[in-house]
């Protein structure tokens, strides 16, 4: 079997090739530095590195920054950049997961109604439960809302047409989004005392980011993205359809439930700390599909890394374009996302 021995090199699944790995890592690192350095007070890369090292014990590096710059860097910019990275990575990896389990290139936390459901859950929690916008209860409320929205969209989409039909699921998600948004507006109008809180939270953004918000979101994001990462091969098996995946020994229903719960929990935590940010879950995975590979072994891990960098950069734009005022970050992602979405619609038509 000499031929089989030599075939070992070619008979393998393409993961993420080394150049793409390095490129994605460099993109994230670069965007972190841009995020930390750009602002009314410019801080250079060496300043950031030396200041970071000065906080580590035993190294005896002295920060070159003034105490004001130190505070700007570590109390204002760093939590903001880290939160944007966590949220961006989560929304992107959740998008890739929804796309895999629903066999639908257009599935995304926003289009499936998850974001609107999370928004409603959080609004109810703020309006009736008097939880602050930084509380631990907010992610939970937003998770319950998000999960009911994705369940509603799935059931509705299935009754309207085959699950594989991209159109039915997106329309169902849109319907759920419109309904949940209406209910949410109603709740908001009934509780004008919290209107301002809710509204500024809904618009989305990281202008009030704190380390405590990072601490609220990070555990959910870590667990849920780890769960999705571990399923990257199984997501490829699902690409041959439910029936064939089942004949290959996969428990499709259980897998779908597990991945939807993971993606929704992570999305809900992201929504809870950042409000509604559209399109990240579509732009990032599809860019990777177009550039690198359609295999989930590439799409899932790269979505996490590139999504994180993408949202950090989008946030930099949001706070610099009309400085000293800020654009809502949802405006920035939608500005790039809407045209991109149109392109995806065209290519996904030729794909099926």
């Amino acid at each position: 079997m000499a031929t089989v021995g030599t075939a070992d090199a070619t008979v393998r699944a393409r993961g993420v090739s080394r150049p793409w790995r390095l490129l994605a890592g460099a993109f994230l690192l670069g965007s972190l530095f841009v995020g930390l350095g750009v602002g009314p007070v410019g801080i250079g890369a060496t300043g950031i590195v030396e200041s970071a090292l000065s906080h580590l014990p035993f190294l005896h590096v002295h920060s070159p920054l003034s105490s004001i710059d130190e505070a700007v860097l570590w109390q204002i910019r760093a939590p903001r950049v880290v939160l944007a990275a966590i949220v961006g990575g989560m929304l992107a990896i959740a998008g890739s997961s929804y796309q895999g389990v629903f066999h639908n290139p257009l599935a995304d936390p926003y289009l499936l109604g998850v974001a609107a459901g999370s928004g409603l859950g959080a609004t109810i929690a703020i309006a009736y439960g008097h939880v602050g916008t930084a509380g631990q209860l907010l992610p939970l409320a937003s998770f319950v809302g998000g999960l009911s929205a994705v369940a509603a969209a799935y059931v509705l989409g299935r009754s309207a047409g085959s699950v594989r039909a991209a159109g039915a699921l997106v329309l169902a998600g849109l319907t759920v989004t419109l309904f949940f948004t209406a209910v949410q507006t109603f709740v908001q109008q009934q509780h004008t005392n919290t209107l301002r809180d809710v509204y500024s939270w809904l618009l989305g953004g990281f202008s009030t980011a704190t380390w405590s918000q990072v601490a609220v979101a990070a555990p959910y994001v870590a667990v849920s993205s780890a769960a999705i990462l571990l399923h990257r091969r199984v997501l490829d098996v699902l690409s041959v359809g439910d029936e064939e995946a089942a004949s290959l020994g996969v428990n499709v229903a259980r897998l779908r439930l597990l991945l939807v719960i993971a993606a929704t929990a992570g999305t809900a935590a992201a929504v809870a700390v950042s409000g509604l940010i559209a399109f990240v879950g579509i732009i990032v995975p599809h860019t990777i599909r177009l550039l690198v590979s359609t295999s989930y072994r590439a799409v899932v891990p790269l979505s996490l890394v590139v999504g994180a960098g993408f949202l950090v950069l989008a946030d930099v734009l949001a706070r610099t374009v009309v400085s000293p005022a800020e654009l809502p970050i949802g405006v920035v992602t939608a500005f790039f996302g809407a045209p991109f979405f149109a392109i995806v619609l065209r290519t996904s038509r030729t794909m099926r």
């Binding site: 070992d8 393998r12 690409s239 041959v240 004949s247 794909m351």
Partner: protein, 253 residues
Amino acid sequence: MIELRSLAVRFDGTEAVRRISLDVATDEWVMLIGPNGAGKTSVLRALCGLLPFEGDALLDGRDVRELRRRELARLIAFVPQNPVTPPELTVAEYALLGRTPHLGYLATEGRRDRQAAARALERLDLLPFAERGLGSLSGGELQRAVLARALAQEARILLLDEPTTSLDLGRQQQVLELVDSLRSDGLTVVSTMHDLTLAGQYADRLVLLDRGAVVAEGEPEDVLSAANLAAYYGASVRVVSDGDGTYVLPQRR
């Protein structure tokens, strides 16, 4: 060894398969034939756990319903009539999907899995195509890739639902010859088949189904009678037998 005892499949109250009993011996190739809607595909799908059924289905004496999904997938490989073949997936990646039942739930393929996939590709002369995308293959090559995925599964039973549809006559013969040669490795094959002449040439035994029930079973020359085909297919045919086989020739009424 496959044993079906009073196997019945119901869809929304209508019986797609009515109490079929059938034994398939190891290394045997049994073909299910019958008009559209006779329940051929339902029998295959019930056997590999994709459809709920009544009665018994045993594999080497073990009840299909008591096997876990992964165990079943290590015993039976199923090739549907229109398999989903993502165009961007390479032939090697597609064949590796066949290793799924042998992997831990969250594991990725190891060296042994890659070798099993490589053996399957070699068996079907697909090694030169390993890194080609499925979308770039011709119909015959694609059908071989699908068979390679099933072979990589290393199951002892192969279920083929209409393995030759959408292939030209030469490719049909190639695929059937391939399947026949795989049997020398100890593979048991159950397939459905539209083309009756080819069915008669390659099957050890034919089972004619009509409206979910077995109406004839046995050697090709016995099952493929003009009377049977008129009664169950509503077809007007002339059947010619010589020493080599049985030929079903459609006749214009």
